[in-house]
Structures are given as structure tokens and as C-alpha cells.
């Protein structure tokens, strides 16, 4: 909570500075902020309900068996698959990752989940195809999956 307050003070400080510099643009910033909150908060609540569901129905042992340290490579691959498919806004990724960690998931799989949840989107594929092309999109998503795997392996190794 205390860390949160520090961030809030910094954010409002920046906002005040912005107001001193240009009033109209700062009002736009506030509008943008409200719009972001409006998009993020409902999704976050949904993710928290999802976390609650896991808390209620899935035991720590089960999570550890799928994503724990002993699962090694397989755990990372599972987590990456979930991250690729899941419809997650970036701000929801970290609370969910932290939640999994508190419940027995190792850092490697969590890193895999975080990387792919942000960078790979089965739901965004059609748009990426359309705007950036089939070849580009296919190669980028496959490469992201593979590189994320090795980086997650490394993170799991370093963080233990």
C-alpha cells in the first residue's frame, strides 16, 4: 500500500507539472487516464474473480504440479501456451502471475506466461495479419514463443 501511495504522489506530481506547462493537454491526459481506467478495471475484476475461482477449487499442490519448479521445461511450455491463448490485458498479467507464484508456481513458468500473455495474442492475430501481413505475423509469433521459452528458462535459473 505504501509503495502504491508513492507512485500515486509521483503521478499527481507529474500531472501538476503538466498542468503548469499546458492546461488543455493536461485535461486531455486526465480524459485519457479515465478512459484507461474504464477499460482496465472491469477486466481486472474479472481476472480477480478468476483468481478467486482457482483459490477456491484448485489446490496449491495442483498448481505446483503443473507450474512448479520440478516441472522444468514442461511447466514453462504450459505457461506459454496459456499466456498465448489467454485474453489478458497487460495490467492483469502481473497480479495473476504474482498470484500463481504465491500458490506454488516457479519463476520460469511465470516468466513464460508474462512474456507470451503480453506479446502473443491469439485474439489479436486477425488484426496483426491484416495490418502487418501473414508472413510477418506468423514468423513474429512463432519466434516470440521460442525466444520467450529460452529467456524464461534463464529467468527460472537465475531467480531460483
Amino acid at each position: 500500500m505504501r509503495a502504491g501511495l508513492v507512485y500515486l504522489i509521483i503521478a499527481f506530481g507529474l500531472l501538476a507539472a503538466s498542468f503548469l506547462k499546458e492546461k488543455q493537454r493536461s485535461q486531455e491526459a486526465i480524459k485519457a487516464t479515465i478512459k484507461i481506467l474504464y477499460t482496465i478495471l472491469p477486466v481486472l475484476i474479472f481476472v480477480f474473480v478468476l483468481m478467486g475461482l482457482i483459490q477456491a477449487y484448485v489446490s496449491r499442490e495442483t498448481i505446483a504440479a503443473i507450474l512448479g519448479k520440478e516441472t522444468g521445461i514442461l511447466g514453462i511450455l504450459y505457461a506459454e501456451l496459456v499466456g498465448s491463448i489467454a485474453l489478458f490485458l497487460p495490467p492483469a498479467v502481473f497480479p495473476f502471475g504474482g498470484y500463481l507464484h504465491d500458490n506454488g508456481a516457479a519463476y520460469g513458468p511465470i516468466a513464460g506466461f508474462v512474456f507470451t500473455a503480453i506479446l502473443i495474442g491469439v485474439t489479436t492475430l486477425p488484426l496483426e495479419f491484416k495490418l502487418l501481413g501473414k508472413r510477418f505475423t506468423t514468423a513474429r509469433n512463432i519466434l516470440a514463443f521460442i525466444i520467450a521459452f529460452f529467456l524464461s528458462l534463464f529467468m527460472g535459473f537465475v531467480l531460483g
Binding site: G52, P90, L131, L151
Partner: protein, 167 residues
């Protein structure tokens, strides 16, 4: 009414409430656990979310897409490559919001590698650091953030080999 049903916020909230009620109907004791988790986590992050959204909102109005395109448009050469592997880390938004920007960059002649590096670096998500450190700790966040730059670099090199689609 139709508009309301199509509204994302409404969909997520009603789905959340629906699931909670469903669990309550099936097994009341479990519903307590769910509500407690939602309640505790929500107030845990609310302050951080407001701060983070303010950061992103300020960034959006002070650094317009046109400015970004101008900076990165010069983007060939080592300086451009370094910029494209680092600068997007500080941007907010979801994949949906950055694809249009990438399309513009592409039309301005950015190579496939530069675009891929941009997307990957954007995945660094520095504006969300307050959230990440709260839930996963500083060592995880800092290690991930530094690896993202490396990730973006490799992606750029590899995707330049793959090449671009004929636009």
C-alpha cells in the same frame, strides 16, 4: 440496450457477477473465498492502477504517435535500432492499440526487423513496473526488463532475415 450488451466493461462485470452467483448457488462456502480474493486484491492494486493509468495518460498526450513515427522514422542505422529496442518499453496500451501505429511505421518504410523489435520492446511495459514489483518483486521485474531489450534485439535481427510481406 444493444449498445450496453456490446460494451466490454459491462460484459466483464456481468460475467464476474454471474460466475460469483453461480458459485454461490452451487457451493456457498466457496463463494466466500472468491469474494474475499477479489476484494483483497482489488484494494491492493487500486491505488497502483490509478497511478499507472495517470502515467500512461500523460505519456499519450505528451508523446503523440506522429512524434514517435518521426523519431523512429529516421530509424535506420545503429541509432535507430537502439531506439526501437528501448523506447517502446515506456509506452502503454495493448497490442490492439499499437498495431495501427506499426502500420504507419511500415508505410513509412520501416523494415520487418524494426517492427518486430518495436513490438517486443513494447512488451517491456515499464509503465506497469509498480504493478509488476508489487506482485512479482524487483528482481523479477528488473531481470525481465533487461532481457526484453535483448529479446527485442534478437527479434529484430531474425525478423530482418524473414523479411517483409509485399505491402
Amino acid at each position: 440496450m444493444k449498445k450496453l450488451l456490446k460494451n466490454d466493461a459491462f460484459q466483464f462485470l456481468s460475467l464476474s457477477v454471474g460466475i460469483t452467483f453461480l458459485i454461490y448457488a452451487v457451493e456457498a462456502a466457496k463463494e466466500r473465498i472468491v469474494v474475499r480474493t477479489v476484494y483483497l486484491t482489488f484494494f491492493d492494486v487500486l491505488v497502483i492502477i490509478v497511478a499507472v493509468s495517470t502515467f500512461i495518460g500523460l505519456f499519450q498526450v505528451w508523446v503523440k504517435p506522429a512524434t514517435i513515427v518521426k523519431w523512429l522514422g529516421k530509424g535506420s542505422g545503429v541509432r535507430g535500432f537502439i531506439l526501437v529496442c528501448t523506447f517502446p518499453i515506456f509506452m502503454g496500451g495493448s497490442l490492439f492499440t499499437i498495431f495501427p501505429l506499426l502500420k504507419t511505421l511500415r508505410e513509412k518504410g520501416a523494415r520487418a526487423g524494426a517492427l518486430a523489435s518495436f513490438i517486443t520492446a513494447w512488451g517491456g511495459k515499464a509503465p506497469l513496473l509498480p504493478l509488476e514489483t508489487q506482485f512479482l518483486g524487483w528482481p523479477f521485474a528488473l531481470l525481465r526488463l533487461s532481457l526484453v531489450v535483448f529479446f527485442a534485439f534478437i527479434m529484430g535481427v531474425l525478423m530482418d532475415r524473414v523479411g517483409d510481406d509485399p505491402a
